[in-house]
């Protein structure tokens, strides 16, 4: 069933799988077949993941094999003390991107696939401790994961113990250095790099931070190989959260490279007249609907078009909404999510949100647009994390995609479609909330 190259691969049909059902469906995790922890551990798995070309599914799209290789090498060449040499694995299940639901679904329906991935990655890099990051308010999901971990401990599945790490619900808390800072007992705020996590992270040790979907893919590659992984789509399969004006919003597992239009059709097609698509979440970009339809759902193609794949997000914006108002709302939310550590972000993002609010709800004039564009240049790449860069890219794409609305707003003020409470999700946020 799963050895065939079809889908679904990650999300099993039906309810969540117990450990026994999981092993029955996928076979046992090939632990212990990779060699000892003396430097040859997981050599095969890392090469296989490299060959598969698996990229991180958390949003950055960094090649997973390269990351595994870097951590394994750092752990091997670390100091003579045994404790220095051992690496740490941090699985990122936080999903702080509001428009994404795939990690939550994956953890709910296939927890053992993720936990297999953690165990295999731990063996490959020589880790002796693992953490699974979850938002602190995950509640029931946290309890079920704790039960799954306990089940595996009783069965003696895992080479390294897995500990659940509650993470505060904020956008930047799940950034990799922020997660590590939290694990180290500090605040969930990004830290300055270097040193990068693969060099020195949790407890001062080389640390692998990986999204839970990426780890699930690793668990399957370990069983079925790189060729099997690549046999679907242009770069394997992936989970995409489709939402907005579609008939059946939800998480879809697709072959990477499938056209956007086909994915929208699978989600039941638009529920209202569509005008644009947000691809990649709040660090992604807006695309005019007609232009987006033929684009492949893959990071390189979407980036080339001015958006991104991000953590696999597509939001369909209907004609009845105003793209500028939605953008202002999201910019306001992202500004409130600043960790407050870096001046350009702490100052620049609220200024950007203010000018966008003015453009959307006030009179959009040339000076406002110029100031907005200046701000984009002022904030990008000047923070410790990518919040300012991602916000700048998102706003930049909006100014291009909604240029017609900008013109209309400059001529006759806010359009009738402007809603005081836009539709894009921003949990717990209200207009003008401070950072």
């Amino acid at each position: 069933m799963t050895t065939a190259t079809g889908l679904p691969r990650l999300i099993p049909p039906g309810g969540p799988l117990s450990l026994a059902d999981h092993v029955a469906r996928y076979g046992p995790a090939p632990l212990g077949e990779q060699g000892g922890a003396d430097g040859t551990a997981g050599g095969d798995l890392i090469s296989e993941v490299e060959r598969a070309g698996l990229t991180g599914r958390g949003g950055a799209g960094f090649p997973a094999g390269r990351k595994l290789r870097a951590v394994a090498t750092a752990a091997r060449t670390a100091g003579p003390l045994r404790s220095q040499a051992a690496a740490v694995v941090v699985a990122n299940g936080c999903e702080s991107e509001p428009a994404s639901a795939k990690d939550g679904l994956l953890l709910a329906r296939a927890p053992h696939l993720v936990l297999d991935g953690i165990a295999l990655a731990a063996e490959a890099v020589g880790a002796t401790r693992c953490y699974l990051g979850l938002h602190a308010d995950a509640g029931e999901l946290g309890l079920r994961l704790a039960a799954a971990i306990a089940e595996r401990e009783r069965a003696g599945c895992d080479p390294a113990p897995v500990q659940l790490q509650p993470v505060p619900r904020s956008y930047v808390a799940s950034q990799e250095t922020a997660l590590i800072s939290l694990v180290n007992g500090g605040p969930a705020k990004p830290t300055f790099v270097p040193p990068r996590p693969f060099q020195k992270g949790a407890h001062g040790r080389p640390t692998l931070v990986q999204n839970v979907e990426t780890l699930a893919h690793i668990a399957l590659i370990a069983r079925f190989g790189a060729d099997w992984f690549r046999d679907v789509g242009s770069a394997g399969s992936g989970l995409i959260t489709v939402s907005g004006a579609v008939q059946r919003p939800g998480v879809y597992e697709i072959a990477i490279g499938m056209p956007v239009g086909e994915l929208v059709r699978r989600a039941g097609g638009p529920s209202q007249q569509p005008q644009a698509i947000l691809a990649g979440g709040y660090f992604g970009g807006w695309l005019p609907y007609a232009q987006a339809l033929d684009l492949p759902v893959s990071d390189p193609a979407l980036r080339a078009a001015g958006a991104a794949l991000g953590p696999g997000i597509l939001v369909v914006l209907p004609e009845s909404a105003c793209g500028l108002a939605e953008t202002a709302w999201v910019a306001d939310y992202l500004a409130s999510q600043s960790a407050g550590q870096c001046g350009p972000c702490l100052n620049g993002l609220p200024a950007l949100a203010d000018v966008l609010k003015h453009l959307a709800f006030g009179r959009a004039d040339g000076r406002g647009v110029t100031w907005a564009q200046q701000l984009l240049g002022l904030v990008a790449r000047r923070g410790a994390c990518h919040l300012p860069d991602g916000t700048a890219a998102f706003v930049d794409s909006a100014l291009r995609t909604f240029a017609a609305e900008l013109h209309q707003h400059s001529v006759s003020g806010p359009c009738a479609r402007v809603r005081r409470r836009p539709t894009l999700p921003a949990p717990g946020h209200s207009w003008g909330a401070p950072a």
Partner: protein
Amino acid sequence: MSHAARTDGARGPRPARTAAGDRRMPGPAPRGAAARGGAASGRALRVNPIACEAHGMCIELLPELIRADPWGYPIVAPGSVPDDLLPLARRAVAACPTLALLLDPEK
């Protein structure tokens, strides 16, 4: 203490009133080694944005390569530091009150 000094007022600190006077992006954009036509030193300047508290010393001491954004934080010219500015760059790095300015070997 660093966060306190930075968050007085509604959003961020009062921008430093630097020797350059106008705090809104004074002067032309800083030009890197290539644009200045000098020999490159193989070292590059970088700011640790978390440690930076917009004291503005680097902007005063190395206006050739560093200018202020509207809030007093430094914008560093990209690229290698020219050889003739390297001693000044070292002085600026040593002068930073929070050691946020760094001089790295260029990658």
